[in-house]
Amino acid sequence: MRRNKKFCLSVLLCTLVMVLGFAAVALASGGAAVPIEAPAGKTPAFGNLYVIGWTAVNFFVLLALVYKFGYGPINAMLEQRTNTIEGSLKHAEEVKVEVEQMRKETAANLAESRKEAQEIVGRATKAAEEAKNELLAKAKEESTAMRNKANAEIQAATAQAKVELRDTAVTLAIMAAEKVLSRAINEADQKNMVKQFVAEAGDLLC
């Protein structure tokens, strides 16, 4: 398909060239109709000094143009390109050295930081351990103190309760004695008194 397209384009181009050629011939012959006359085929005269002179001048003008607009700028550009590439390579080398140095510095810093971090962690662990032990000891001490205090309080309360109980018992005994001594009582009164005593004593004891 692509080859066919190229072939068609080539034929079209050739036809165009031929048609343009004919048009040019027709124009050159002052509008005379084609077909054209047969070629003369004679060779041009040799040694035309004007042609030689003009051609030499023209060639040196061309040489000047090629030098001025071809070799000159291109050589300058090549030199500039060479300088740019050399500069870039040099810069890249410098950057490479710098990066290598930075990498070494970073590695050293990292190692130092790691060491410092380990030391810090060690110190912190030790401090935490000490704090823990201190707290534990303090807590133990406090708990012991609290327990002792509580025991003492309990003992004090118990002793006071005993004292109070004894005092109450004495009071009750005195009260009971007062009751007994204050009037003559029969059996029924005695029973009532005992019941009343028990009821009152119960209120006091509770």
Binding site: V11, C14, T15, V17, M18, V19, L20, G21, F22, A23, A24, V25, L27, A28, S29, V34, P35, I36, E37, A38, P39, A40, G41, K42, T43, P44, A45, F46, G47, N48, Y50, V51, I52, W54, T55, A56, N58, F59, V61, L62, L63, L65, V66, Y67, F69, G70, Y71, P73, I74, M77, Q80, R81, T84
Partner: protein
């Protein structure tokens, strides 16, 4: 007007007559100059477009001559003139393929005239000896009598044969090709000459390369260590 008929003056520039093909030479030179100017007008470090193509062409010719001439300083010195030969001959040869070539007054392929090819060959001839003298000084004359005085006539013939062969080869090929196309155009106007014109594309490039290579090798031989 048929090919070969305009071997004469088209107009006068003051007292100096200007032939038909000189006008084409001007157009060829203007074309090359314009391309070169456009390509190198705003040159960039990273080449693009026309600059890229023109740079590639100039560098290709420069590398080509450097390889051909062995010595870089000689190649560097003579590369512009050789590139000018190549471009001038190539564009001149191809100008004959443009419709109307040799049919419109003032438009005639310059390299189909042997005055033009002889001028180019003479420039090569002088370049050879300038290169020889500039590289070896007076010692360059020894090569005319090398390896012995008996060879002087043959060496002189060889020196004359160089420009003569360059003249006749380029002229003969381009003139012959143009004549054949003209005959074919007369006999079978449509399509048939296209094949010959296609060959003309190849022939034009080959002749430009051959002329330039031979010039470069002659200059290299004169400037080389052999002398």
């Amino acid at each position: 007007m048929i090919f070969g008929m305009w071997d004469g003056v088209l107009f006068h520039l003051g007292p100096i007559p200007v032939d038909h093909l000189i006008v084409t030479e001007w157009v060829v030179i203007a074309f090359i100059g314009l391309i070169a100017m456009s390509a190198t007008k705003n040159m960039q470090i990273v080449p693009r477009g026309l600059q890229n193509g023109f740079e590639a062409m100039i560098l290709w010719t420069y590398d080509f001559f450097t390889q051909l001439m062995d010595e870089e300083h000689v190649a560097k010195k003579w590369a512009p003139i050789l590139t000018s030969f190549f471009l001038f001959i190539l564009i001149s040869n191809y100008s004959g393929l443009i419709p109307g070539a040799a049919h419109i007054q003032g438009f005639q392929p310059p390299t189909s005239n042997w005055n033009v090819t002889m001028t180019l060959a003479l420039i090569t001839f002088f370049s050879i000896h300038v290169a020889g003298f500039s590289e070896h000084g007076g010692h360059y004359l020894h090569h005319f009598v090398s390896p012995s005085w008996a060879m002087l006539p043959l060496n002189l013939v060889e020196e004359v044969a160089h420009p003569l062969s360059l003249t006749v080869r380029l002229f003969g090929n381009i003139f012959g090709e143009e004549t054949v196309v003209a005959y074919l155009l007369f006999m079978a106007p449509f399509l048939v000459p296209s094949a010959m014109m296609g060959l003309g594309l190849l022939l034009g490039a080959i002749q430009a390369i051959v002329f330039t290579i031979l010039s470069a090798s002659y200059i290299a031989a004169a400037a080389g260590a052999g002398h």
